[in-house]
């Protein structure tokens, strides 16, 4: 256990990559072995994640204090410019690591039916998992950036090769948007590097925790106008990933064209990297600008909530509707974070976790019906409830979870966001609350059009959801329900760190 415990984050990050490399070495015509290797390689992080869950000390905060991070691995990588291999977890990253382990494994299982070039598909999927884990585990900005960008390549190919009719357009749009955000982030990273020092050695550093020590910044970096520009550079990079209005237009295209499992990963994990980046990097490094920018962030959050919901309501494509509902839900994260209150911050983080599970379910479910009917037109179905009752049951659960019905985790998260943000921005939050109604409306309306009413005779013989699909959905549904009734285990996991984050940000005023 010694080696595993001391390298647990590296193992979670690189075991999938190892599996991917192994898959590439397998000879042709071994599709089943490829799938099994992929399943094993993506399953292995789950016991490790369980180990994290058990061993994690919930009483220490982390955020900007190096010795409060857990499962730390710290090595020199490129000594001449002080790039370090520095990984560690705190309450901000831990829920995301758990989510990544779970959703990635389910995505591999959900990809069982892929026929085309399964070898390349699984290898890329596992590479993607490595990138995602790495982003959530890194504490060195350079390392973070490398993992952040490493995800782009597999995502581009996964959408571009295995996607729908307009896959090429969607893939390059995703790639260009994200790269645009990334290069801004790169410039900010280098500006931070040259204008701050490692307090211990006096040299420049890429260590995020050193960037967070305001005393390590030089005079140029203490200038508020400069800080605003740098903050905005990072913000745009992360906002594109979230995606925040007006940078969201890549998302519907990417989602509609991506294969089911890739949509699941995209919505379930990738979007969270944007909000995670804000919490992990932007807020603690630029606490003063964060406070200054809180109201615009809250407004952007509300625009996301309302605009995303209205767009979702207008869609006739089921997958597009779910994609826009993600835009709407991610708005809650931003609203909660912008409030800079413990409840808001915890709500935002919990929303990231909860939405990761709920939206994964939704995309799996859309995939199920698309596999059978080969279209996703909401108005093209009708009365499916009578034909496929089990499927209908799962969709109903997922839709109710998504619209924030009490008893599901989404409700707890959104309630906490409102609780945390209402005292701070009253008017804005009232607008946000109207978003809830629209969210409920389009979910129920879609449910009604697809499953209720007279049966569309074309789908009288529609095949029921199968065991493998239930295997993907059941854990998510159960967890959503469990954390909706008893959210404390997750809240305990994250709250110490998030309360500390609020303190770190607020300390400066």
């Amino acid at each position: 256990m010694g080696f595993i415990d001391s390298h647990i984050l590296s193992l979670m990050t690189f075991l999938p990559l190892l599996g991917g490399a192994l898959i590439l070495c397998l000879p042709k015509g071994t599709d089943n072995i490829v799938k099994i290797v992929a399943a094993v390689a993506s399953f292995l992080p789950i016991p490790l994640a369980a180990r994290l869950w058990v061993a994690f000390d919930r009483t220490v905060g982390g955020v900007n204090v190096a010795n409060q991070f857990q499962f730390v691995e710290h090595y020199s990588w490129i000594p001449s410019i002080n790039v370090e291999y520095f990984m560690g977890a705190d309450g901000i990253s831990l829920p995301m690591l758990l989510l990544t382990a779970l959703v990635s494994f389910l995505a591999v299982i959900g990809s069982w039916g892929i026929k085309k070039q399964i070898k390349g598909y699984m290898a890329l999927l596992l590479l993607l998992e490595t990138g995602m884990m790495g982003v959530f585990a890194s504490l060195d900005f350079f390392l973070f950036y490398v993992f952040w960008e490493v995800m782009l390549l597999p995502m581009y190919f996964l959408i571009g090769i295995w996607g729908g009719p307009r896959k090429e357009y969607a893939a390059i749009k995703f790639f260009l948007y994200t790269l645009f955000g990334s290069v801004l982030m790169l410039i900010v990273m280098l500006a931070l590097y040259f204008n701050s020092v490692n307090p211990e050695t006096g040299g420049h550093t890429f260590n995020m925790l050193h960037f967070m020590q305001q005393s390590a910044h030089n005079a140029w970096l203490k200038d508020f106008d400069v800080r605003i520009l740098l903050f905005l550079g990072l913000f745009i990079g992360f906002a594109i990933k979230v995606p925040l209005f007006p940078f969201h237009t890549w998302l519907p295209d990417a989602h509609v064209e991506a294969p089911t499992a890739i949509s699941v990963i995209l919505a379930g994990i990738l979007l969270k990297m944007g909000t995670y980046g804000l919490m992990r990097i932007s807020f603690p490094i630029f606490p003063d600008v964060t406070v200054w920018f809180a109201v615009p962030m809250a407004i952007l959050g509300v625009i996301n909530i309302v605009y995303g919901a209205l767009c979702a309501m207008a869609q006739s494509d089921l997958k597009k509707m779910v994609a826009y509902s993600s835009v709407s839900h991610m708005g809650f994260c931003l609203l909660g974070m912008a409030a800079l209150t413990p409840a808001g911050m915890v709500g935002a983080s919990f929303q990231m976790f909860s939405h990761g599970m709920i939206t994964s379910m939704l995309f799996f479910l859309v995939g199920v019906v698309y596999d059978r009917a080969h279209h996703r037109d909401i108005d093209g179905f009708g009365g499916l409830g009578a034909v496929v009752p089990v499927y209908t049951f799962f969709v109903t659960v997922a839709f109710f979870a998504s619209l924030g019905l009490p008893g599901f985790s989404g409700f707890v998260a959104e309630a906490m966001v409102f609780l945390g943000s209402f005292p701070v921005f009253r008017t804005i939050v009232i607008f946000a609350a109207s978003g809830i109604i629209i969210v409920a409306a389009f979910h129920l309306w879609a449910l009604q059009r697809v499953f209720l009413g007279p049966l569309n005779p074309k789908y009288a013989q529609l095949e029921e959801i199968n065991a493998r699909e239930i295997f993907c959905l059941a854990p998510l549904a159960l967890l959503t329900l469990y954390f909706g009734v008893n959210p404390m285990p997750i809240l305990n996991l994250m709250s110490t760190s998030l309360i500390k984050l609020v303190d770190v940000v607020k300390m400066v005023i």
């Binding site: 990588w77 490129i78 000594p79 001449s80 410019i81 950036y145 490398v146 960008e149 490493v150 782009l152 390549l153 581009y156 190919f157 571009g160 090769i161 896959k167 090429e168 893939a171 390059i172 790639f175 260009l176 790269l179 645009f180 290069v183 801004l184 790169l186 410039i187 280098l190 500006a191 590097y193 040259f194």
Partner: protein
């Protein structure tokens, strides 16, 4: 003190090795006639390999001035000699595989190639205007011949003609600038000119001289607006030569550009290790604008290209623009970034051209459209090309990213933020056209489903180019140390 002629010879072994190989090739040509054989190629490999080894041995020799001050032996020269020799070795491999060149006189081809190499050796080491001009022409004239090597092919002849005309014009303008410098200072030695200018006052002739010399060197590295020749030459020339021109002479062009401007129009500041501008000519501002324009024009025009060679030609213009960023900063870290970038650029660019050759051997086409489905027709070559293209874009974990990080870093360190932002946006633009090739290869179904076999030897060479491209993206400490130690330039 500079060494005398005879004493210098023992420090001139790499150049002598190349010269001896050229003479041997002449003999081989006389003996073998125009027969097809691998002898000239193998002879060239052996000769350049020997020169590379001899250069490596010079790395630890203290800096010296040779031949009464004509040529320098310093870390900077040694670095560029090693780099250009390595590029030449790879180009010999490319040439052996190219079917364009099959059926043409082999020995002559390698004689020209090695003459260019000799010219590049001298160019990166010249410390005297006369020597500098001679070696520049030694690089140029065989290059013209090589560009037109596909005799009878219209495009190749056009390429060579264009190359000659542009080259002669640029050389003429440059030598006019040289004469102004000589007139003002009465010396042909770079170091002496530099010292005289640093003490003098700003004059119009000095400004003119700087601009005129910039034209000559700008032509060599294909910086906008002196880039017009390169797309046509690159498209028309045999592909191995295109690859060679885009890496070797371009690197040597950077070497002479840096050495000339950092010796003549700037003086080293012993205290900080950086350089200070001589009065009168703020060529750094001029080149900063040139850098931004070069990368933007290169990238934007590349977007519209349908021919892979032309696309890579414009992309190499853009890369010259990136590297120029390091040139305008007057700091050792800026030079270090250029040197490091040239190393990674060598592998990724030659690698991309190598795949182009392998594909063209089979399909007889360099159109992007004919790359459709290459991912299933020749997976190994296609994946390699994808690696090289992503590296050229500058995406981690490939080496091109690290090269860009060092360039960007020094630009940001010096506070030239506008240039960093322009370069960053250019990276996004470049993704669009590099990804277009990747899209065609992997996302589109092949028109012709037949497999393109890649034999073992080209596979091995591709690996030799792809592995450094990957490894330098993850661990680059030794190479950056080497670049750091090669910034030292002498000027007696």
């Amino acid at each position: 003190m500079p060494l005398g002629n005879l004493a210098s010879l023992s420090h001139f072994l790499p150049e002598l090795a190349v010269t001896a190989t050229i003479l041997l090739l002449v003999v081989a040509h006389v003996v073998g006639g125009n027969r097809q054989s691998a002898v000239p190629a193998i002879l060239s490999l052996a000769g350049v390999g020997a020169a590379l080894l001899l250069t490596a041995l010079q790395a630890s020799v203290p800096a010296k001035s040779l031949f009464e001050g004509m040529v320098a032996l310093d870390g900077f020269a040694v670095f560029f000699k090693a780099l250009t020799a390595l590029a030449t070795i790879v180009v010999v491999f490319l040439s052996m595989e190219s079917e364009e060149l099959a059926g043409r006189s082999q020995a002559e081809y390698y004689i020209f190639l090695l003459s260019v190499l000799l010219g590049m050796f001298l160019l990166s080491a010249s410390t005297d205007i006369v020597m500098l001009y001679l070696s520049l022409e030694l690089v140029s004239i065989p290059s013209y011949l090589l560009a037109g090597y596909l005799k009878g092919g219209g495009r190749s002849t056009e390429a060579a003609t264009k190359y000659v005309v542009f080259g002669a014009t640029a050389s003429g303008v440059m030598i006019y600038g040289f004469s102004l410098l000589y007139g003002m200072t009465g010396s042909t030695h770079l170091g002496e000119i530099g010292r005289a200018l640093a003490q003098g006052e700003a004059t119009t002739p000095m400004f003119l001289a700087a601009v005129m010399v910039a034209v000559g060197f700008g032509y060599k590295i294909a910086a906008v607006p002196f880039h017009m020749w390169s797309p046509d030459v690159y498209e028309g020339a045999p592909t191995p030569i295109t690859a060679f021109l885009s890496v070797g002479p371009k690197a040597a062009g950077f070497a002479v550009l840096v050495r000339f401007f950092y010796t003549v129009f700037a003086t080293p500041d012993a205290a900080s290790g950086a350089w200070v501008l001589s009065p009168g000519v703020d060529w750094t501002a001029l080149f900063a604008v040139l850098s931004a324009v070069t990368m933007s024009v290169g990238n934007l025009i590349a977007v519209k290209q349908d021919n892979v060679k032309r696309l890579l030609a414009y992309s190499s213009i853009a890369h010259a623009g990136y590297m120029l960023m390091g040139f305008v900063l007057l700091s050792p870290a800026g030079i270090k970034a250029i040197l490091f970038y040239l190393v990674v650029y060598l592998f990724m660019n030659l690698g991309a051209f190598y795949v182009v050759i392998l594909v063209a051997n089979r399909t007889r086409s360099e159109e992007i459209a004919d790359y459709s489905g290459l991912g299933s027709r020749a997976p190994f070559a296609a994946v390699s090309l994808a690696i090289f293209l992503f590296a050229l874009t500058g995406i981690p974990p490939f080496s091109g990213f690290i090269g860009k990080v060092y360039l960007f870093a020094e630009v940001i360190n010096k506070g030239v933020y506008w240039l960093a932002v322009v370069a960053a946006l250019n990276s996004v633009v470049s993704l669009y056209y590099y990804a277009r090739i990747i899209k065609v290869m992997f996302l589109e179904d092949p028109k012709d489903k037949s497999e393109i076999a890649v034999p073992a030897f080209p596979r091995a060479v591709l690996c030799l180019l792809a592995i450094p491209t990957l490894v330098l993206g993850v661990y680059w400490e030794p190479v950056i140390r080497m670049a750091e130690n090669s910034v030292k330039m002498i000027a007696f």
